[in-house]
């Protein structure tokens, strides 16, 4: 088990490094640069440019830039945003909680709902419920997340007027304590709902096929031959065996959420890191971009490692 852990950690680390190198290269090799934005469109003063480049270290060769960035990043300093002139780490820290709130809530809810639906459909295969759920899942799978978000806004905010359209909380009122929490929850319903609906098909498919497959395994037949109650067979043996792929899917789902949440944050004007990324891309704010990308890669790698470890705990065959 220990060997497996170490191997996983090393692979994760390698992934982060490679992701980072790719990211660094792309950003720095791309056309357009932040200095231009800072200087304004008309100015082309070489002296100003040289001074600005000096200030942000952009005049040094690429590999020196790379290593100096790495060094400071390890200390927790992700540089200064060229556009906002604030420490990137601070900016990210401000927005990150909002994003984490969305990602974790959606991730867990879609896991529970999607898996439950899949299990029910598997047990009642061929019945109306199965067909209903499967059709539902199929259609949801084909929807662009942002479009679904927009449609939900039309239905619930515009037409029915029961849920707020955007933001994380009502900026005009200043709630505190419980009222604040409730307000945030009210604002969370649509974005989380959208993300959950988009993620459900993945869990549904895997849960359903896994339960069906396990139910047809030889050991289930053996257990039936022993006279064991169907309930026990299902709850202990089918469930424990069928749940394994779901764990892997949870990792993939979280990875998808971490990157795809920016679309939803845009639709709902949710103040998270997703939107920060988009403005940074448009303004070529390198330090912010790299900082966010680094955080994103690290989180995904961590999620994957944790998922793999949990899987190894649940499935003894993997550890050896």
């Amino acid at each position: 088990m220990r060997k497996y852990l170490v191997k996983r950690l090393l692979t994760g680390l390698l992934t982060i490094v490679i992701a980072f190198v790719i990211n660094f290269l792309i950003i720095n090799l791309a056309p357009g640069d932040p200095i231009k934005t800072l200087m304004g469109k008309e100015s082309d003063d070489p002296v100003l440019r040289a001074a600005l480049e000096e200030k942000y270290g952009l005049n040094k060769p690429l590999h020196i830039q790379f290593f100096s960035y790495l060094k400071t990043a390890m200390r927790g300093d992700l540089g200064i945003s060229i556009i906002y002139n604030r420490p990137v780490a601070d900016m990210i820290a401000e927005k990150l909680p909002a994003t984490i709130l969305l990602v974790l809530t959606s991730g867990v809810l879609s896991l529970i709902i999607g898996t439950a639906m899949g299990i029910v459909a598997a047990r009642k295969e061929g019945t109306f419920i199965d067909v209903l759920f499967s059709g539902f899942s199929y259609i949801l799978n084909s929807m662009p997340s942002f479009w679904l978000g927009l449609m939900l806004i039309i239905i619930f905010s515009t037409v029915l007027n029961i849920l707020p359209t955007y933001g994380m909380n009502d900026a005009r009122a200043s709630y505190t304590g419980m009222a604040y929490v409730l307000d945030v929850i009210k604002h969370m319903i649509l974005p989380v709902g959208t993300l959950v609906l988009i993620e459900i098909p993945m869990y549904y498919r895997i849960a359903k096929s896994s339960v069906l497959q396990v139910t047809n395994e030889d050991y289930i037949l053996t257990l039936r031959a022993t006279g064991m109650s169907e309930k026990k067979i299902f709850n202990k043996y089918i469930f424990r065996n069928a749940i394994l792929p779901t764990v892997t899917i949870f990792g993939i789902s979280l990875a998808y959420l971490i990157t795809g949440v920016s679309l939803i944050e845009t639709v709902f004007a949710w103040p998270g890191t997703g939107r920060l990324v988009l403005t940074a891309i448009n303004q070529r704010d390198y330090p912010t971009l790299m900082g966010i990308y680094l955080i994103m890669s690290v989180s995904i790698a961590v999620v994957m490692i944790v998922v793999d470890i949990v899987y190894a705990i649940l499935d003894p065959r993997i550890r050896y």
Binding site: I18, Y138, P144, S262, V277, I281
Partner: protein
């Protein structure tokens, strides 16, 4: 073969749907009531107003016509990105699976690491930085989605490698590259083809996502662009964004049906309980 197609409902609807899409795309100028680029006088018309079946947008473009023409864009994006992704996946996976050993280990690690990269963000980055022409979009999607195809091809290659006809070819002195291209790839390609339909669906969704973020190609009519445009008019002119989305849902569903149908045909393992 017709019998197989008709019997499997998903494959049937998938193929019918695909034919439908192709017809719409090819016959677009004929079917669409107006030129989608025509910035007409009827601005923000509701459904059916002034003969516009699905209304118009702020620039006076007829939504219905735009949707019809958007089919071309979506199909182009789907096919070209899936094609690039498929070719890359087949080659890389085929080499890894067939050559085995160190080569396989190195390539597999590479595939795993690549799969862990946040691809959507990578695509965002590349498009934002290198320009948002539709061709960039297609190429970028293609070069970031090959890993799943590679994994499938690799698994196929690993099992094909042990087959007698491959071993016979080796014994007869055929070079490894020859065997790779003559036997391994042609025989192992079927699951990859089924997987590319999923790739096509994802390509359409990704392109839509990029357009929605303002990173799409503004010169091309695309459903994603329409949703982007429609966002600002969500409350006043909901039809701009809605129907484009429905078009996406229908198209993506068709590709999924196709993929599922192909998978069924290739693995007709329908075991419900023990047989004789």
């Amino acid at each position: 073969m017709i019998r197989t197609i008709v019997n499997d409902k998903q494959l049937l609807f998938g193929i019918l749907g695909l034919i439908f899409l192709l017809l719409v795309a090819v016959l677009a100028p004929v079917i669409a009531p107006e030129d989608p680029y025509y910035y007409g006088p009827d601005v923000l018309n509701k459904l059916g107003e002034n003969g516009h079946l699905l209304g118009t947008n702020k620039m006076g473009q007829d939504i219905f016509s735009m949707i019809i023409h958007g089919t071309r864009t979506s199909l182009k994006v789907a096919v070209i990105s899936a094609f690039i992704s498929g070719i890359l996946g087949m080659l890389i996976g085929g080499v890894a699976g067939y050559f085995g050993g160190q080569v396989d280990r190195a390539i597999s690690e590479f595939i795993n690491i690549f799969m862990m990269l946040p691809t959507f963000f990578l695509i965002l980055l590349i498009i934002a930085l290198f320009g948002n022409s539709i061709y960039n979009v297609m190429v970028v999607i293609g070069i970031t989605t090959w890993p799943s195809n590679a994994k499938l091809m690799r698994a196929q290659a690993l099992s094909l490698r042990e087959r007698t006809f491959v071993k016979a070819a080796t014994a007869m002195g055929e070079s490894r590259l020859q065997i790779l291209f003559k036997y391994i790839i042609p025989n192992g390609v079927f699951p990859v083809i089924a997987n590319t339909t999923v790739g096509m669906s994802n390509a359409i969704l990704t392109e839509a996502g990029l357009s929605f973020l303002g990173l799409g190609d503004p010169n091309i009519i695309s459903w994603g662009q329409m949703i982007y445009d429609g966002k600002a008019y969500l409350t006043s002119a909901w039809w701009i964004a809605t129907f484009a989305g429905i078009a996406i849902v229908i198209t993506v569903t068709i590709f999924y049906l196709l993929g599922d149908g192909l998978n069924h045909v290739m693995n007709p393992k329908r075991s419900k309980g023990k047989g004789v």
